[in-house]
């Protein structure tokens, strides 16, 4: 199986998942109680106005027609209007997407950086405190409810010692000057991104440590050492480089988790992002909004899965070059 075939297969598969999620999305939101009109209904509307609204939201048509229309519109990111704000859902999501991405990348990069380097560190120094710390943190990440840690951090640094902002993505209004604004953003990022890091770096570190240890036990590492390569070269060029495929896969495979983990984080820190939008929409039974947000999240998960496959293929020469039958 060549790389191209591999890629095509993965792509086709992603499209299938997308299609299924879209259909699911459609069905789910049709079985919600009540209908769109009663949702946005101002008691002052008369029946004619209601009918007018029904056709505006397209819920007077047969379900099949609705489905086709829905598929077409979602593929072009036309998610309709929010019942609540009556604005285009995609417009609202677009406003929030940069915030979500900022939080996501900030936390993801710090988590991955801290996690992987701690993992490498622990693997390089077996039996030291670092290793115990990493093992403990991994277990902690698995067992502690993340939102609890976030609540505690919020309570400690937001309320008890109010040294960090408790909410939002920036000061209102932010200080003048590009640099000051950047720092202001960073300042607001500390709690949400930092807490995400605290919650999840452990599992990264643990995974890295395990794969590194496995790699360090390999014969080729012995070869590398025997060749008289210095420690760093052995550790990074040989051991780390050879575990990069699984770690990279892990990076991309945990993208979906990080995307969805943002839902709770955004809620706790009132981060003006897509995850919070989903929760708000669900709570207010704003179907188009919830549908749009869910679609966007699902899409990002599919894309990151695809990226994971792609990355795996690129990094692992066995797939890239296309021998890989073993």
């Amino acid at each position: 199986m060549g790389f191209r075939n591999y890629l095509l297969k993965r792509l086709g598969y992603a499209l299938l998942v997308l299609f299924i999620i879209l259909s699911l999305n459609f069905l789910l939101f049709r079985i919600m109680p009540g209908d769109a009109v009663s949702m946005i209904m101002d008691p002052k509307f008369d029946l004619a106005t209601k009918e007018e609204l029904r056709s505006q939201f397209g819920i007077d048509q047969p379900i099949g027609t609705q489905y086709i229309k829905y598929l077409k519109s979602l593929l072009s990111f036309d998610m309709g209007r929010s019942f609540n704000t009556r604005r285009l859902v995609w417009d609202e999501l677009k406003e929030r997407l940069p915030n979500t991405l900022t939080l996501f990348f900030a936390s993801f990069i710090t988590t991955a950086a801290v996690g992987i380097s701690l993992g490498v560190f622990a693997a390089a120094r077996r039996g030291t405190f670092a290793e115990n710390f990493v093992t403990g943190a991994g277990l902690f990440a698995y067992a502690v409810p993340g939102f609890f840690i976030q609540l505690m951090l919020l309570m400690i640094f937001g309320y008890y010692w109010p040294i960090l902002p408790i909410r939002g993505t920036m000061s209102a209004p932010p200080p003048p000057g590009a640099m000051a604004q950047f720092l202001d953003r960073l300042w607001h990022l500390i709690l949400p991104a930092g807490s995400l890091m605290v919650i999840s770096f452990g599992s990264w570190a643990l995974y890295t440590r395990n794969t590194m240890l496995e790699a360090l036990g390999q014969d080729y590492i012995m070869t590398a050492r025997a060749k008289g390569l210095d420690k760093k070269t052995v550790l990074y060029k040989h051991a780390l480089r050879s575990v990069l495929p699984p770690i990279l896969t892990l990076i991309f495979m945990s993208l979906p988790g990080a995307v969805t983990g943002a839902v709770i984080t955004e809620t706790i820190f009132s981060w003006f992002g897509v995850g919070k939008y989903l929760i708000d929409a669900v709570m207010q039974q704003d179907y188009p909004a919830a549908q749009g947000a869910f679609y966007l999240i699902a899409l990002s998960v599919i894309v990151s899965n695809l990226l994971a496959d792609l990355a795996y293929g690129l990094v692992d020469p066995r797939i890239r070059v296309g021998g890989g039958a073993k």
């Binding site: 998942v17 919600m32 409810p145 008890y160 869910f294 496959d309």
Partner: protein, 514 residues
């Protein structure tokens, strides 16, 4: 992405004698300190869950207003200056024996029942016969004839009888946020145009009088259900306070013995029967129990203890359903193979690609927020891993001699799956089950925390949500936040310990995977 490793099939013992294995399993398990620690923690939780009604005397959903909202734990008294003098709920009913009758003449006071309730009956004599006389009336009596007076003031206006009783209660705390008195009150046998005036007064240790309640009854008065509460606008009004003033902060600002005085005065010419139930006095405490109270005055300690029930129930049930599903699908997929396998595994892949928390959020909002919905949803979106694991194991088992032999001897597929494959995947299934429990518990907690749990069921996630939503931060009520979070942490940690230990013993090859 089915990158499954471990396919050479040498890792499963060939149907070892079951009884022997059980013994060895436990012997091995006993030696693992973390496993034992986990087991001990779980046992403690299970005991707490079973014995919840014994450990705590309150029902977390029904017993509300046990103390004031957001009352602090009792032990905060020793930790914080703020709570040093804070009151603990004072709740008592003062019946006839508790009252001290101080004033009046010719009345009788007895216990009676009315409409199946205990009442005190104060039988007031006719106004004309005795009682203090209005000095103005004394003068008017001399000027007018009784007939003329009756014409002017009504039959009984000339004279009044009065009665008063009081009781004392000590109050040695800082002021509470409110207080209330509850009783039923009625007047019977009064002459139609007479007025019967009742009042309730609080007299502070320093002698200040606060007139907190009063009622002018004209003629007979049907039973009225009276509650006098420090937060009520009429009470503030009577005391001449503003909307945002707290009567309790003013009245109960002193320490010492407070006197509560009940007074009646009637000008009925026929006398009057005053009915009053024993008075319930309630001062909601600012300190309560082991963990204080929530925003509804409900006991947090009992919520925590009962939470163990729910969490264990949810975790076990969801994990069981999930693992059952996963095992069934895995065995069928692996054993039957071919198109069935392909379809089932693609289905698993699709499910794995759906972001689980968002879909759970959406679905639980759609299906309503009952505990069972949450259980089923959590199970529905978590069985895929088990299915894959079991499938790969089944694939290797399928090739083994004993399966071949069974098939050759004419056993049906179902029979082979149940009697040959299933027992051999049980070690995997068992550890998957144990490791599924904490993730089910945490998922439920997350949903509850987001407000998508069952609002009538006290779970730890819900406690955390309430803490966040109803003021734990503003009053720094860490005793509200910390316990449920730690309870969750320890429980899931315990299951992880157990799961890892079980895995180490039963499935050494799969140790790092699930």
């Amino acid at each position: 992405m089915s990158k499954i490793r471990g396919g050479n099939g040498n890792n499963v013992a060939q149907e070892p004698p079951k009884k022997l294995k059980k013994v060895t399993f436990w012997q091995q398990y006993r030696r693992k300190p973390l496993g034992m620690l986990g087991l001990c923690i779980v046992v403690v939780y299970v005991l707490a869950a079973i014995a919840a009604p014994i450990i705590t005397q309150y029902d977390p959903t029904k017993d509300l207003f046990l103390a004031d909202n957001l009352a602090a734990p009792l032990w905060m008294k020793n930790l914080s200056e703020k709570y040093k003098d804070a009151p603990v709920t004072i709740s008592k009913t003062v019946d006839l024996d508790g009252w001290n009758v101080t004033e009046g003449a010719d009345f009788s006071i007895t216990k009676t029942t009315y409409d199946e309730e205990d009442f005190m009956l104060i039988d007031m004599p006719a106004a004309s016969s005795s009682g203090e006389q209005d000095p103005m009336m004394e003068i008017l009596k001399d000027i007018y004839t009784p007939e003329e007076l009756a014409e002017m003031f009504g039959a009984s206006a000339a004279a009044k009888t009065s009665f008063s009783m009081d009781f004392t209660f000590p109050y040695n705390y800082s002021p509470p946020n409110t207080f209330n008195f509850t009783f039923d009150y009625a007047v019977e046998g009064s002459s139609p145009e007479a007025t019967t005036v009742a009042r309730l007064l609080i007299i502070s240790p320093s002698g200040k009088e606060y007139d907190i309640w009063g009622m002018d009854a004209y003629g007979d008065w049907p039973i009225s259900y009276i509650t006098v509460d420090g937060r009520d606008v009429p009470v503030k009004m009577r005391l001449g306070l503003g909307f945002f003033d707290d009567p309790s902060k003013i009245i109960l600002s002193e320490k010492g013995d407070y006197k509560v005085k009940f007074m009646v005065e009637t000008d009925s010419s026929t006398g009057a029967k005053i009915y009053i139930t024993p008075v319930k006095i309630n001062i909601p405490g600012l300190l309560h129990g082991i963990l204080g109270t929530d925003h509804m005055g409900s006991d947090l300690w009992s919520q925590l203890i009962y939470g163990a029930r729910i969490s264990l129930l949810i975790g076990l049930t969801a994990a069981f359903i999930s693992v059952f599903l996963g095992t069934t699908v895995g065995i069928i997929s692996g054993y039957v193979g071919g198109a069935v396998d392909e379809v089932l595994m693609r289905f698993v892949d699709v499910l794995l690609a759906i972001p689980s928390l968002p879909i759970l959020i959406v679905l639980s909002a759609l299906l309503g927020t009952s505990v069972w919905n949450v259980v089923i949803l959590v199970a529905m979106f978590s069985w895929m891993g088990t299915a894959r694991l079991v499938r790969s194991q089944t694939l290797t088992l399928k090739e083994r001699a004993f399966v071949e032999a069974a098939k050759a001897s004419g056993a049906t597929d179902g029979y082979v799956m149940v009697t040959h494959i299933l027992p051999n995947v049980m070690p995997l299934v068992f550890s998957a089950l144990v490791l599924r429990i904490p993730s089910a518990i945490l998922t439920e907690a997350s949903l509850s925390f987001l407000g998508l749990g069952d609002p009538r069921v006290p779970t730890w996630g819900r406690m955390l949500q309430n803490a966040r939503g109803f003021g734990a931060f503003t009053v720094m009520a860490w005793w509200w936040l910390l316990p449920p979070g730690l309870a969750l942490t320890f429980l899931s940690l315990a299951f992880v310990f157990i799961g890892n230990t079980v895995n180490e013993i039963l499935n050494p090859r799969y140790r790092e995977r699930s």
